[in-house]
């Protein structure tokens, strides 16, 4: 290993002390960089319209709402529980569809498999594009395309999550040991068989853990999808806030909290069992 590294690494230039030189360069660059960082942050504070006076003025109104929210309105708890279930269902089905899309993408994108070298780059572009657009944005578009309701949310979650899962999966596969892969390649088998035989078993716990994590994350993230009309408990939340029914808002927040905590615990427990 070391021999190879020495052979391919850059040869030290003569009469130059690399460490000292790089330390000086980074020190001279430090002050301008810090200045730039401060300026950028100041710009952000200005653009973000930060105004604590307004926060202070708004506090009494907030306090009033909080006071009015007690006791929580439990009269429609069955409806809300059903809507909570809808959110969980949306995230679960969405993530499962996302995983189905992600599987071929990650096989194309992982550098140490590259089932088809020609498609590796387009696959990586596609997964970065999917990952870059939030499920909220996808859901907004799908509501327009397939109508209001949880199915639009499912599609939104599926597309965005496909990109995230594919990227994380590909990165995991890229960390598998090269030795067993070479041994399997020496049998004359193609890349897909080599992957299934020599890489998948070692990567599987980590791949499953990623899937569970994405599920847990999407249950949390999907609570807001209702705001754009894509179903679930978020829709109830938006309606109640619009109608200033704060006792009902409190109940919804409690339902969300209970649901998210339960899923988090379950997922964490399952992931502990995998490792």
């Amino acid at each position: 290993m070391d021999i190879v590294k020495n052979a391919v690494g850059p040869a030290p230039r003569q009469g130059e002390q690399d460490d000292l030189a790089s330390a000086v360069v980074s020190r001279t660059a430090f002050v301008p960089l810090l200045g730039l960082g401060v300026a950028f942050y100041a710009l952000c504070v200005h653009v973000a319209d930060v105004d604590f006076i307004r926060l202070v003025e708004g506090l009494p109104r907030l306090a009033g709402w909080i006071a009015r929210s007690w006791p929580p309105d439990l009269s429609e708890i069955d409806v809300l529980a059903r809507r909570g279930l809808e959110t969980v269902a949306m995230a679960t089905v969405g993530v499962s569809f996302g995983a189905i899309i992600a599987a071929p993408l990650c096989l194309l994108a992982a550098r140490n498999i590259a089932v088809s070298p020609l498609l590796a780059l387009p696959a990586r572009w596609l997964l970065n594009a999917l990952r870059g657009i939030d499920s909220f944005v996808f859901a907004l578009i799908f509501v327009a395309a397939v109508g209001l309701g949880p199915f639009a949310g499912v599609l939104g979650v599926a597309l965005h999550t496909a990109g995230s899962i594919a990227k994380l999966w590909a990165e995991t596969i890229e960390t598998t040991e090269p030795g067993p892969v070479e041994a399997a390649r020496m049998s004359g088998a193609g890349r897909l068989r080599v992957f299934l035989h020599a890489q998948l078993p070692d990567a599987l716990p980590q791949l499953s853990s990623i899937l569970l994590y994405m599920w847990e994350f999407n249950v949390r993230a999907s609570t807001v999808l209702g705001v754009v009309g894509a179903g679930g408990i978020g829709q109830e939340l938006k309606n109640s806030v619009d109608l200033l029914q704060f006792d009902r808002v409190l109940t919804i927040l409690l339902v969300i909290l209970a649901m998210v905590t339960a899923i988090d615990q379950l997922s964490a427990w399952l992931r502990r069992r995998l490792s």
Binding site: I3, A7, V8, E177, G179, P180, E182, A183, A184, R185, M186, S187, G188, A189, G190, L192, R193, V194, L196, H197, A198, L200, P201, D202, L204
Partner: protein
Amino acid sequence: MTPALAISGLSKRFDNVIALADVTLDVAGGEVVAVLGPSGSGKSTLFRCITRLTEPDAGRIQVDGQPVDPLGPSALRRARGDIGVVFQQFNLVRRRSALANVMTARLPSLPLWRVALGRYPQALREQAEEALRAVDLDAQRDQRADTLSGGQQQRVAIARALMQESRVLLADEPVASLDPDAARMVLALMRRLAKSRGLAVLCTLHQPHLAAEFADRTLHMRSGQIVAGADDA
């Protein structure tokens, strides 16, 4: 008779390092040939070029009289099936059983679902068990590879090569990660298989006394060339 492995004029350079310079050698079936040489002398490069895991710059490679050097990707894959390899680091799939690791040799002929699930047809299973018996590991058949000792793992790797039914076995430092007892056991096994099955064995070693004890012939490499031993067959 054509030698099982015939190499002539094999050359490879990396940037400014000449790793192999015009290497020529033959190994007959049933013969064990050891390669000795200092670190960096090109031993691993020689092995990787024979299997074309590293592409040589020039030279001819014949396995059982069949040229390997001019083959395109799919023909090369088939030709690799005729070369068994054993690595210093064993290179077993950790989380699969000894038997599944032996089965690596038959991947090309298995349907994808069998490869993924590790469910193999009965006839192949029997063959793999046979190979494990030949390396004295029938009791460890279902044990996970990462729970086997180093010597046992290397024997699984040899069984994997046997399962391939190849006539050539390339072993790059097969005993460098093993203690002396396990090392002798593995080398004795390779020698026994060479004699009983007519396998041509090419094997790099670091200890001259092991080469003297287990090899029919010893080649010495230095700076990518075979400097001695080529003629004392």
